[in-house]
Every structure is written in structure tokens, then in C-alpha cells.
């Protein structure tokens, strides 16, 4: 009896796997970086990256699942094949390109200092000397701050998450926070908690550190996936879908030059 059923089961399994021929892609994200990725009170993910990721998945006809992870664990997870792509406001930098591949640019990611209102500083070692600057572990802002400023007498304090940086800026433990300008604007300055704070000094756009913008992180071996995603991004930019999604979040040109 059992043996008779076996071919049926095999047939059923094969049929079901054939009918779901679309590939499954696991997208890694650190959901603490508004407006790019946030976790809503009901536990679902939302944000610019999430919308872009879902739109791209639809266009390449893949089934996507979102996997949450620490930011500094994303690249190791990608390399260990625990996830297949990183969609988490990750800047395309030369250092990261040595380890992984990136899709074409998704949007620009300049960094900028945030301070209390009335405190005006410039993003230079001379202006920041002796001050405590908070950065988020593993980000481009941290690398920049450490290499450009820490060596010249600026006290760089690294945090486990961006929220803890803001919390300590509000607390007064920090003189300034240094991070992605758009994330700081939306995730902090526009909220009630950020009322007493402002951007200070111009945007920092050093390509060696901040790259050309954010992209989707991919394994270097997955060239086929990269080609498909690049094509989807180009098509989205072309037919206005990108602008439609972006207008939900930004009132300026987030894509940049």
C-alpha cells in the first residue's frame, strides 16, 4: 500500500515544485533606518528600500522574503548564503566591492552632521576637535569618522544601532551625530524627539568612503541575478515607477546626480 502511494507522492511533489518555478530570493535588511527601512508597530516592514525591493522582485518575477539582521552581519550572511541580496541602504564603496558585488545605484547617500540647534560645526577635524561624535557600528559614516577625524583629536563613539546614537544625542552625551543625511532627516529631525536639533555644516560626499550611492548587495558569483536586477532598476527609473515610489517618501530628488 505504502509502495503504491510513493510514485503518487513523488509526482505530486514534482508537479508542485514545477508550478512554483519562480525563484525565491532572500533579502537581508536591518530595519532600523527610517525612511529606508522601518518596522511598523504591527511587525511588518515598510520604507523606501522595502518598496523598491518588492517592486524589483515583481519585475524579475521572483518570490522574495525579507530576512532581518544586524547591519554588520549582512555582508557575512550574504557570503555564507544565508541571504541572497542586501537591500538595506548599503552604500557602494570600494572596500565593500572587494567583498561583494552591487547592483547599479538605487539612490544617493551623502552623510551629514546633526547637532543641537544653535551649535554650528563643520565636518572637519579642526571644527570637531575635542567633541564627542556618535556613529553607528559598521556604517560608512563610522569608517569616515574614524579615519578622518579620530586620528586628529575628535572623540568618536561607536554605537550598536542608529537609535542609540540619537538617544545619546538627545541625552546630551554626544555633541553631534554623523550619519546618512536622508535617514537623519526622516528618522530623527522630522520627528518630535528631533525638534531641538538641526543639520550642521554641508553634506559629506567623499566617494572613497561613501561611494556613489546605495545599491543592492549581491554575491560576486551571482552575475545573472545582478543583470536581472540592474535591468529592473533601469526600467523602473525609465517608466516613472521609481519616481512614484520616491515621492511617497521624499520631496526632493533622492536619486541624485
Amino acid at each position: 500500500m505504502k509502495l503504491k502511494l510513493l510514485p503518487l507522492i513523488i509526482a505530486a511533489v514534482t508537479a508542485s515544485s514545477l508550478s512554483h518555478a519562480t525563484e525565491t530570493i532572500r533579502l537581508g535588511v536591518e530595519p532600523g533606518y527610517a525612511p529606508f527601512e522601518i518596522k511598523k508597530p504591527d511587525g511588518t516592514l515598510a520604507g523606501f528600500d522595502i518598496d523598491l525591493g518588492n517592486e524589483i522582485c515583481k519585475r524579475i518575477e521572483a518570490q522574495c522574503t525579507w530576512v532581518e539582521s544586524d547591519f554588520d552581519g549582512l555582508i557575512p550572511s550574504l557570503k555564507a548564503k544565508k541571504i541572497d541580496a542586501i537591500v538595506s541602504a548599503m552604500s557602494i564603496t570600494p572596500a565593500r566591492l572587494k567583498e561583494i558585488a552591487f547592483s547599479s545605484k538605487l539612490y544617493g547617500t551623502p552623510a551629514r552632521l546633526v547637532t543641537a540647534k544653535g551649535v554650528d560645526v563643520e565636518p572637519t577635524a579642526a571644527s570637531l576637535a575635542g567633541k564627542r561624535i556618535g556613529v553607528f557600528q559598521g556604517t560608512t559614516a563610522e569608517t569616515y569618522a574614524k579615519e578622518q577625524w579620530a586620528t586628529k583629536g575628535v572623540d568618536i563613539v561607536t554605537y550598536q544601532s542608529q537609535d542609540l546614537v540619537y538617544a545619546d544625542l538627545v541625552n546630551g552625551r554626544l555633541d553631534a551625530a554623523f550619519q546618512d543625511a536622508v535617514a537623519a532627516d526622516d528618522g530623527f529631525l522630522k520627528r518630535p524627539v528631533g525638534k531641538r536639533f538641526q543639520f550642521s555644516g554641508p553634506e559629506v560626499n567623499d566617494e572613497t568612503y561613501f561611494g556613489v550611492g546605495a545599491g543592492i548587495g549581491l554575491r560576486q558569483s551571482d552575475t545573472e541575478l545582478k543583470a536581472k536586477i540592474d535591468q529592473a532598476i533601469a526600467a523602473m527609473l525609465d517608466d516613472g515607477t521609481y519616481d512614484k515610489i520616491a515621492s511617497k517618501y521624499f520631496n526632493f530628488d533622492i536619486y541624485g546626480k
Binding site: 554588520d72 557575512p76 567583498e99 569608517t143 561607536t158 552625551r173
Partner: protein, 237 residues
């Protein structure tokens, strides 16, 4: 691996060039918190075993609070929570104290180890041989003399095996320090991970460092147990 060690070895051990990091910070946290926690826990353990409720009950409550909540939560409350309270901000001393990640971490570690150590010592005090106490009383020992010469020396010695466990657990507990921005061994491992994207090497080095420190601590305790607990070993062999 060798490249990583050359580049980050110094940061793992004692400094990243700007401040103390790595092993130096971890050991400092461990030694200071154990030392202060030990000193406070001796009177607390005596109070804990007291038959008088107004001595034993507050200590019970303290130890219940700090053993009944995760150290991570305690650290978050001390570092992120307390500093937002108005009366802390208004007091010069409190705001100076809680501004520092180091002080917050040390406070959490001290209170945590103190709670566990108090219970360890209190258990040993309760298990003191009744005959020894009766004999001391028969000789007219005062309460002070009874505790300083009979109960505590014996109870502290008998606590050593479980106290050595607590010391190792405290070593592990220091790895939470980065929550309060204190750059301990694990923080350097995370730096190396985000700079090299080689988590196996980054965290592997940290694990080996912790193992070496544990080994030293364990062998120190083994030596002192041989010396101080000799009277509890069987006579033969």
C-alpha cells in the same frame, strides 16, 4: 588571519591608538566589579541570613531584583534609561556619573555580581556546622568574634568552587559592555568583522582571548582551592 592580527592585535589587547580597548578594558571591568561586588556582598550575606526580617528582607529584595532580570536589561536601564530622568539630570553628581558609559557598565556589573555573590555566601553561612557555632558560644565568643573568626573564614572558603563559577560568568558578562559604548574585546571583534567581513576570524580571535583569560582564572582558583580547602579533602591518597 596573520594580517588581521598584525593590524588589530594591539586593539584586541589594549588600545586602538586613542583609548583603552579590548582585553585591558575587559579585565578592568572584571577586576573592579568583582572587587567591589565581593566587599559589599560580605555584609549583605550576613544580613541575608539574619533571623531579623528588617535585615534579611531588603537584601532578599535586592538579590531578587538583580538575579531575576537579565544583566542586559539592567545595563540598558542604567545606561539609556536612568540618564533621561529629570532628577538625575538636575543633580551634578548623578548626571556626571550616568553620563559615562564606563560608570553605568560598572554599576550594572557590580550590582549584578554582588547579588549572586551574596546568595553564594549566604548559602555557605547557612551550612556552617552547628557544632562549630555551639562550641564557639560555649567558649564565650562574642557575635563579632563568632563571625570574623569562625563563620566567615569557613563560609568563604567553602564558597570558593561556586564563586569561581561566578567569576567566569562575570567574564562572559563583560561582553555586554558595548551596549554602553565601552570598547571591550567583543567591540573590537565587531570592528574587525565590519572592516574585513571575516566573522569567523574576527569572533574566533575574541573567543580564543576569552578562553585564555578563563584558563588563567580557573587555574588561579584551582591553586587557591588546593591551599584553602585542604581541610575538606580526604586524608588518604
Amino acid at each position: 588571519m596573520i594580517e588581521t592580527l598584525q593590524q588589530y592585535g594591539q586593539a584586541y589587547l589594549w588600545t586602538d591608538g586613542f583609548r583603552f580597548t579590548g582585553v585591558a578594558v575587559t579585565l578592568m571591568l572584571l577586576v573592579v566589579s568583582l572587587l567591589i561586588g565581593f566587599i559589599i556582598s560580605i555584609p549583605l550575606s550576613i544580613a541575608r541570613t539574619s533571623s531579623k526580617k528588617y535585615f534579611s528582607y531588603p537584601v532578599w529584595l535586592f538579590s531578587y531584583l538583580f538575579r531575576g532580570t537579565p544583566l542586559y536589561v539592567q545595563l540598558l536601564i542604567f545606561y539609556s534609561g536612568v540618564y533621561t530622568l529629570d532628577f538625575v539630570r538636575d543633580s551634578d553628581f548623578l548626571s556626571w556619573f550616568f553620563r559615562s558609559g564606563y560608570y553605568c557598565t560598572l554599576l550594572a556589573l557590580i550590582l549584578n555580581t554582588c547579588a549572586y555573590t551574596t546568595e553564594i555566601f549566604a548559602g555557605a553561612i547557612r551550612e556552617t556546622d552547628k557544632g562549630e557555632i555551639e562550641a564557639a558560644k560555649a567558649y564565650g565568643f562574642s557575635n563579632w568574634k563568632l563571625y570574623t573568626q569562625i563563620i566567615m573564614p569557613s563560609a568563604l572558603r567553602r564558597s570558593m568552587p561556586s564563586y569561581s563559577n561566578e567569576v567566569i560568568l562575570m567574564l562572559h558578562a563583560t561582553s555586554l559592555a558595548f551596549t554602553a559604548t565601552v570598547p571591550d574585546i567583543l567591540k573590537i571583534a565587531r570592528d574587525v568583522n565590519s572592516a574585513t567581513y571575516q566573522p569567523f576570524i574576527a569572533f574566533g580571535i575574541a573567543a580564543i582571548i576569552y578562553l585564555i583569560i578563563s584558563l588563567v582564572l580557573v587555574s588561579l582558583f584551582r591553586q587557591s582551592e588546593k591551599k584553602w580547602l585542604k581541610h575538606l579533602q580526604p586524608l588518604s591518597n
